[in-house]
């Protein structure tokens, strides 16, 4: 077979766009081809052997295995949620740097800079919207990703530690979003962070100290803004970036996606490195193309949302005029709702129990049953436990977001609050 020609017409792994690129590089565009070879350390990969090489020989691409099970790139096993989390992180990084060009972390300057971004900076409003909605989407995507991993039993050995890395990344994501929440320095952010850090202060013994450490004082002020800024733009994103690398690396080291074991013949399960062609696809070009497609879809959705809805901005922060109701960011409203029943239970017991549950889960539930299967029958009891916890969080959060009005009184979403601002 001619190594330089398109081949294998019977497999569906050929991507027209990629092949077009390959022909272009080879044909009249010699200069382009030379640049391509300098980057990818070889010609456009026409045959399977070259396709392995292009993955292995590239710093970015080599986080992939050279071949994956066809099941891994279909929709239902993962819904692409891990990849979406990663993309959102990258989008946050890029748009965040753009916002940093204009932002100033001081109580006198911050709000004005946000107004400037919204009103006069070229694409400032768009970038702020992308950053805001991307951040909120990232919190949601990380939680959904975690639920996916749980419901498919993908935290079981040998993936226990990667679950722990994931839990850390969940907390880092929440911290990223929470620290970013304060930066516009408007009424919404000021009071949300006041409420959020008050919840933190309910922790026994260390609570008030923790709050002091977080805020650099006893109340939200200039030092808190500076501290949240440093955490938001350097400390947490860099830690998260390192952990994300570790997380993804462990996915490959732990054998890729969790697959249902009965689907593989015993011999194949042992020698998964040379799987059969029907169940396996090459990373180049198929997986890369799927990843590109997910990125395009995500970016299109985020752009559309950002063009249609502006990131919220209220009046400049005023420590003398509390918002009524003052609400924490939405992902903490479940906690705030529980705190409104009991500060100790909502502010201390529930968060500690939840964290303990998440950390202990992969080390307690070690039976190798139901791996890679959604809602496996063998795991019914633990699935019920998770679902109940999730429901409680979703219900309390929903009440907190939609049904709490002035003085934390209950209102249906369609009921008008008394004293709507003029």
């Amino acid at each position: 077979m001619n190594q330089d020609e398109p081949q294998d017409p019977k497999t569906s792994d050929q991507i027209g766009a990629f092949q077009y690129l390959g022909r272009m590089l080879k044909g009249s565009h010699e200069a382009l081809g030379a640049i391509y070879r300098s980057i990818f350390r070889g010609p456009y990969p026409w045959n399977p052997r070259q396709r392995l090489a292009v993955i292995v020989n590239n710093l970015v691409l080599h986080v992939h295995p050279t071949r994956v099970y066809r099941r891994s790139i279909s929709v239902t096993p993962t819904f692409g949620l891990g990849l979406i989390c990663f993309y959102l992180f990258v989008i946050e990084w890029v748009t965040g740097v753009y916002l940093m060009f204009y932002y100033e972390p001081s109580t006198t300057g911050a709000y004005g800079r946000i107004l400037d971004l919204d009103y006069v900076v070229a694409f400032g409003q768009l970038m702020r919207n992308l950053h805001r909605w991307g951040g909120e989407a990232m919190v949601a995507a990380v939680v959904l990703h975690m639920c996916r991993v749980f419901y498919t039993g993908a935290y079981k050995p040998p993936r226990e530690f990667n679950w722990i890395l994931g839990v850390m990344l969940l907390f880092l994501t929440l911290a990223l979003s929470f620290t970013g929440y304060l930066l516009p320095w408007d009424q919404l952010s000021f009071w949300a962070v006041t409420v959020g850090t008050n919840i933190a202060s309910y922790a026994p013994l260390v609570g008030p100290k923790l709050r002091y450490l977080l805020l650099g004082g006893n109340a939200v002020g200039g030092d808190a803004l500076l501290r949240f800024y440093a955490l938001h733009v350097i400390a947490i994103p860099c830690s998260a970036a390192l952990l994300i690398n570790y997380h993804i690396w462990r996915v490959i080291k732990d054998g890729g996606l969790a697959h249902p074991q009965e689907n593989l013949a015993p011999a194949e399960a042992k020698a998964a490195a040379v799987p059969r062609a029907e169940v396996v696809v090459q990373t180049f070009p198929t997986v890369l193309y799927v990843e590109l497609a997910v990125f395009l879809a995500l970016m299109a959705a985020l752009m559309a949302i950002s063009l249609l809805f502006n990131a919220p901005l209220e009046q400049q922060a005023n420590p003398l005029q509390p918002n009524n109701p003052s609400k924490a960011p939405w992902y903490f409203l479940g906690l705030q709702e529980m705190v409104s029943y009991s500060a100790f239970w909502g502010g201390v017991v529930v968060p500690v129990l939840l964290t303990g549950f998440l950390v202990a889960l992969p080390y307690v539930d070690r039976t190798p049953k139901g791996i890679g299967v959604w809602f496996a029958r063998e795991r019914r009891s633990i699935v019920v436990v998770w679902t109940v916890i999730l429901l409680v969080i979703v219900v309390t959060t929903t009440i907190g977001v939609f049904c709490r009005g002035p003085n934390w009184k209950f209102y249906w979403p369609w009921q008008a609050w008394p004293g709507a601002p003029v």
């Binding site: 766009a17 919204d118 752009m303 559309a304 901005l313 009046q315 003029v422």
Partner: protein, 357 residues
């Protein structure tokens, strides 16, 4: 798969195109272009207009630390050719000459959001923002805030004075404090002018519950004009913010009078001891001095203080007189404010109150 990618690719491209259009199709550019095109046809401005770029124009007032971009749309404020122009292309009144935007900006008098360059946001009608443009006579408060009372012609401060009289007469300070004097029941009003907008104040005084949930403030039967005067007066209360005022030379080289406690108290004194009010009917004093704001007799009156329907059974005239003279001494820790009543007023009140049995 490839079809799917093509569709999302198209959506993405359209979105980027939309964003690009949003970025270049700006409301303010329309006004500027209109202005320059009109300037082009006038012989003495044609050359100048040709050299002007359509861009965001901003002022960094030397006396106020802000950035203001109002002149981006209101580009004709100093152009006599637009004396009768339609907003935003309209010449400012003669006051502009003594109040150059380069020195004071626009927001200090007109309110609004100086950084914004769209009508909605700049005029404070954006979502979540409430720095509404100051309309009509409410601007008077701004004159007063910088110049004080003595330096201004009397007609320019009449609303402030009327408002202050109304505030004193209605005994707002039975519940509210202004610069340390007054009751503790309601919020301190010392700096209310720098905290609330005229719209908020108007709506709140007209119908307290409509703005502040669970407000215990009574609804006063003010007319619209009275409400306006009170709001204008309240806007001049900017306690502690005097330092942020621009430095200006007094207009008539007369020291501006303080709006502080002495003025308010003097006003209250005049009200209470005026020559026409020597003899009193106790019931009139009770209703006129604002007692009904907090206390009820029968079904009428406020709920803040105890009901006085049967007060004559509980306290005798001597006891009541002592209480009215100095509530803080008679009821330590109580909320009852010092009303500064005269001896005659106290006598009349006690006589009336002892009849309530």
């Amino acid at each position: 798969m490839e079809k799917w990618v093509a569709v999302t690719g198209i959506v993405l491209t359209v979105s980027f195109g939309w964003a690009l259009r949003d970025n270049f199709d700006q409301e303010w550019a329309k006004y500027e272009r209109t202005y320059y095109s009109l300037a082009l046809v006038r012989p003495h401005t044609a050359v100048w207009a040709k050299s002007q770029a359509v861009e965001v124009k901003q002022v960094l007032p030397t006396q106020v630390s802000t950035v203001e971009r109002c002149v981006t749309c209101h580009i004709a404020i100093d152009d006599p050719a637009f004396k009768d122009g339609r907003e935003p292309l309209r010449q400012h009144s003669a006051l502009l000459r003594s109040h150059p935007p380069e020195k004071f900006g626009c927001v200090i008098c007109h309110g609004g959001v100086g950084r914004a360059v769209t009508t909605m946001e700049a005029h404070g009608q954006g979502e979540g923002l409430s720095d509404p443009l100051v309309k009509g006579e409410y601007i008077e408060a701004a004159c007063y805030n910088c110049h004080g009372s003595e330096a201004l012609p009397i007609q320019a401060t009449s609303a402030v004075i009327r408002g202050r009289q109304l505030v004193n007469r209605s005994l707002c300070m039975g519940c509210h404090q202004i610069e340390g004097a007054g009751g503790q029941e309601g919020p301190d009003l010392t700096a209310v002018g720098s905290q609330r907008s005229w719209l908020w104040l108007y709506a709140h005084i007209a119908r307290p519950e409509s703005v502040v949930v669970g407000s215990t403030m009574p609804v006063f039967p003010f007319s619209r004009d009275q409400l306006k005067d009170i709001v204008i007066y309240l806007l001049t209360l900017r306690g502690g913010l005097e330092q942020s005022r621009p430095t200006i030379a007094p207009i008539n080289s007369v020291e501006s009078n303080s709006t502080g406690l002495s003025g308010v108290a003097a006003e209250a004194g005049r009200e209470m001891t005026g020559p026409g009010l020597v003899t009193y009917d106790g019931r009139e004093v009770f209703n006129g001095a604002g007692c009904t704001m907090c206390h009820s007799i029968g079904r009428r009156g406020g709920q803040v203080g105890p009901a006085l329907t049967y007060i004559g059974r509980k306290r005798d005239a001597k006891n009541l007189a002592k209480l009215l003279r100095d509530p803080a001494e008679a009821l330590p820790g109580g909320k009852m404010p010092q009303l500064n009543l005269t001896k005659q007023q106290i006598d009349a009140l006690t006589t009336y109150l002892t009849t309530l049995r």
